[in-house]
């Protein structure tokens, strides 16, 4: 379910029981559910670590320096996301100061674009990594390592991809004046979540030797 689809669902004009926005709670609850999903995928990887009956094995092909770079790229995209939200929020709070509103909105859009670009960069690294692995004889069906590795990182990559599409959609919609800071904030929540999941994956799969 894309949460962008819910953009107009909320009755924002009505006060809510908690004072919190519907969509924001929805996003948090949804991410809670996602935690269990990724938890299941990661646990499966860990349970099957060292259980492959044929190679290639993780130690032989995982490229830690390269993945460190891609991890850094994804981390920076989270920073860009923060800056983008700040821009949109300042623009919304600019009041009658039209010039300030425009310049902040511009910053917001720039950093939104940067987030999407960095996210795409991360995906590029992932595609390259997959390509290299296949080249070294590790396919989806080669062994348990290939199976668990590709499915875990593949689902993470899909989440990044959905995030990129979401961010670009926000960027386009912002030119039609349809994007409120809350919309950016929700995209940001999702983005940071996906980023954190990657930190866990990077630590457990790449950094901790099997």
């Amino acid at each position: 379910m894309s949460d962008a689809a819910l953009a107009h669902e909320a009755h924002e004009e009505h006060p809510t029981s908690t004072g919190l926005n519907h969509r924001k709670i929805l996003m948090w609850a949804f991410l809670g559910s996602e935690c269990i999903f990724f938890g299941s995928l990661i646990t499966t990887y860990l349970v099957y670590r060292g259980k492959s009956v044929v190679g290639p094995y993780p130690g032989e092909i995982l490229n830690i320096p390269l993945t460190s770079v891609s991890t850094f790229v994804l981390l920076m995209s989270s920073l860009a996301m923060v800056l983008s939200l700040a821009g949109f929020e300042r623009a919304a709070g600019a009041g009658t100061d039209e010039e300030r509103r425009r310049s902040e909105l511009k910053k917001g859009r720039f950093w939104l674009l940067m987030t999407a670009v960095l996210g795409t960069g991360f995906l590029g690294f992932q595609v390259y990594e997959f390509y290299e692995f296949v080249h070294h004889g590790l396919g989806l069906t080669t062994n348990l390592f290939g199976t668990t590795f590709y499915v875990l990182t593949g689902f993470h990559g899909t989440h990044v991809g959905v995030g990129v599409v979401w961010l670009v959609s926000l960027l386009v919609l912002s030119y039609f004046g349809k994007v409120k800071p809350l919309d950016v904030e929700l995209g940001g929540l999702y983005w940071h979540f996906v980023d954190i999941v990657w930190i866990i994956i990077f630590t457990l799969i790449y950094l901790i030797p099997s």
Binding site: C35, F37, V53, L144, F155
Partner: protein, 623 residues
Amino acid sequence: MATVTDVRTQERVSTGAAIWSWITTIDHKRIGVLYFVTSLIYFLVAGIEALLIRLQLATPDGEILDPDLYNQLFTMHGTAMVFMVAMPMAAAFFNFLIPLMIGARDVAFPRLNAFSYWTFLGGSLLMHSSFLFGQAPDGGWFGYANLTSKEYSPGLSIDFWGLGLLVLGVASVAAALNFIITIINLRAPGMTLMRMPVFVWMTFVTSFLIIFAFPAITAALIFLEFDRLFGTNFYEVAEGGDPMLWQHLFWVFGHPEVYILVLPGFGIASEILPTFSRKPIFGYSAMVFAAVAIGFLGFSVWAHHMFTTGMGTIADAAFAGSTMLIAIPTGIKMFNWVATCFGGRIRLTTPMLFALGFLTTFLIGGLTGPMLAAVPLDLHFQDSYFVVGHFHYVLFGGLILALMGGVYYWYPKITGRMMSEKIGKVHFWLMFMSMNLTFFPMHFVGLDGMPRRVSTYAADMGWEGWNMFISISAFGIGLSVLVFLHNLVVSYKKGEPAGNDPWDARTLEWAIPSPPPEHNFDEIPQVTHRDQVWYDKYGEGHGSAAELSKVDTSVAEHAEEDEEHDVHMPNPSYWPLLVSAGLTIAAAGLLIHILVAIFGVAWTIVAIYAWSLEPASDPPNEH
């Protein structure tokens, strides 16, 4: 302004327009009705499957069904009863009642709500379409790897099952998210968490269980389908895969699922018992915290389904302990229900009878539970008919009886007419007696060594007497369901008009007309007490009604119809249906051809964009 046709005037509009209004509806009450009717149809389908199973088992060496068909029937009976009857029927109640009970005009995300329903419909139709191809799922509702692998289950049967369940999972999680936000955020002023009706609390806990339990089975099913469609190795023993992975993931979902199924039953009973005892629920806080405790504990007991798999003594002991702990909060609830009745003014109406029947049968199911948790006993009970008896007491007794009571209780609110008490009592006694006579002897054949899921048994096993008895009793249940359907239909046309509050009840939904207007409340109620409607009628309510004046609700009813209220209701929308259709096509595509799947995904994406760009209400809420 609202454009959906008002329920009371719909007979005047053309059939086409009426159908269109149901397709595009985002009114929680209508979606609730859709859920109810759909799940009732599946109840009949899965019930007929059960009767066919009982026909086959009525005699030893039965020859009515061949083993393959038998295996399909018990698989689909279990899968449908859990995912297409119990859950959506509970969802029907959630949908209709939650906004009414908390004083809201709709759920937090009305279109997401419609999406949940249509996705449920899509997933369930996808799975049932397998019958048309003679490829109905036959791996059991639990679908244990590696029997479900391509090697041991060639063909598409397991794929229909896995993909159907994935789609149903999306529907369940979306609906659960919606109810969580609705309950957190749309409570009427003054409706604090601890003033909410117990039913709302049970919905709240159930919804959390759904969003945290379903991802585990989603992952397990994704692994299964990857194994089957793309040849991965998750459950491939030859490649080092372990079938236990499936069991762990499935039961991490599967045990919370049991509470997902019974907590709504708890909630319904907790509304009916106070109303017909004329007393508030006994120990409200304890009831709430017990449910929350059950929810938490429910995630720590999954491996008690796996005592026979040889997990080791330590794990067995730990899971036996955590499982038995659940007896404590459950016991608290049981005693509080009994105490609610004690000292009340008990009116034995049909809903009350069902609630009492629920207490009785759930008590039996609840008492065999800790016996199953005792590992040495479970080594015999596991996968025997003893377990079948146990969980039918829990699910038929704990859920179906409660749901039936709920139907009798809220039918007047939903339709504006009373159900026949006379037929209702026949229904209750027939169903209650038959279910006990059906499911109790199952414990005995289980102890006599009859395993579950056997399509046939030998004549010299000494099981034929009980099996014949069980089969005959099962048809009694079937008959009681017919009585119920008869009552539903007859009362819809000929039932006595209900008025706002036919039962002299306690919660907010009884303060408004029956059926409720589209916007539910003309004015959002102000809540100052638990059981607000009771308080409004009787104050603190000591002494007899004669001393206290009842609020004349009929006056309010007329006043409300005269007045035009300016309530903004969201517009109907067909995009939720189209997104659901896209998802279903994508899932079906994996069975047919990858291009169809890609088409389905593209359709879904387009529909999501259209949905998110569609204004939710007139005038467009631009800011």
